[in-house]
């Protein structure tokens, strides 16, 4: 049933939000964001199967491209911050506080 796929997508998205708000390791926060993008992808594909149209597949491909761009930029920022501070704690990264 299509509903089961959508319910699984909601559960995975909620787990991603839980990872973002409960962890302080910058890698785990980043991977939780990837998990949320994957949950959105699953919802796109399931709804595309429900309506038997290809638009959801195209949107899922775009989400993958955005995730790849985000991974490249975020990991570059993490390397830079680790070089500067030597830590992986998100509470330490407060350079933009002003």
């Amino acid at each position: 049933m299509i509903q089961d796929y959508l319910i699984l997508s909601i559960i995975l998205f909620s787990l991603g939000i839980l990872g973002v708000i409960s962890r302080r390791n910058v890698f785990t926060v980043f991977m939780s964001i990837e998990l949320m993008l994957n949950a959105a992808n699953l919802a796109f594909i399931a709804l595309s199967r429900l309506h038997e149209s290809m638009d959801g597949h195209v949107l899922a491909m775009m989400v993958m491209a955005v995730a790849a761009a985000e991974a490249a930029l975020a990991l570059a920022v993490v390397i830079l911050l680790h070089k500067h501070k030597g830590k992986l704690d998100t509470n330490v990264f407060s350079l933009l506080r002003g």
């Binding site: 708000i21 302080r24 491909m61 998100t90």
Partner: protein
């Protein structure tokens, strides 16, 4: 019947992988359990007869993005003592569950009101390269070009950020 068993197995594996991601302390273990989630999501895409997205999930997500993340984690050589102390994480986790359970149950109720459709596997004419490509290059041409621009910007940004010799204060 067999497809339902496969769905249950893949769904359980993906949820277990996600739980492992938010509970493991070391990011390497978390990344490994995220790989489990990605691969089982690829299996779910195959069950939804999205052939192209199935292959792309395996190559782009489980292959490229996860190996990039694992490479960076190994490159930074993270020891257990370098990890941040997360004393209040069980508390934050409980608070997040309290916050998210009403939202998620509301969304599940909304989803259950959708018309019930069996997710049988469609044969030809759905989800292949040809069908997706036709839609992509006819209706979605402008968003496709914008995404290519976004990838170019991300490429240049990553080179500029990571290629700096010293951090300028």
């Amino acid at each position: 019947m067999f497809a339902e068993w496969l769905f249950t197995a893949f769904a359980l594996l993906s949820i277990l992988g996600a739980i492992g991601l938010i509970l493991f302390r070391h990011p390497m273990h978390g990344a490994m359990s995220l790989v489990v989630t990605m691969v089982s999501l690829a299996g779910l895409y195959a069950l939804l007869s999205a052939r192209l997205i199935f292959v792309l999930q395996l190559i782009v997500y489980a292959g490229a993005i996860m190996s990039l993340i694992l490479f960076i984690i190994m490159f930074l050589n993270i020891q257990t003592r370098d990890l941040p102390e997360e004393k209040g994480r069980i508390l934050y986790l409980l608070g997040g569950i309290v916050l998210l359970v009403p939202v998620a149950s509301f969304l599940i109720k909304v989803v259950k009101s959708l018309p019930a459709t069996e997710a049988t596997i469609v044969g030809s004419g759905f989800g292949g390269v040809k069908e997706v490509g036709l839609v992509l290059f006819q209706d979605w041409l402008l968003p496709f070009e914008i995404v290519s621009l976004l990838l170019l910007v991300a490429l240049i940004g990553a080179v500029v950020l990571a290629g700096k010799r010293r951090f300028v204060k």
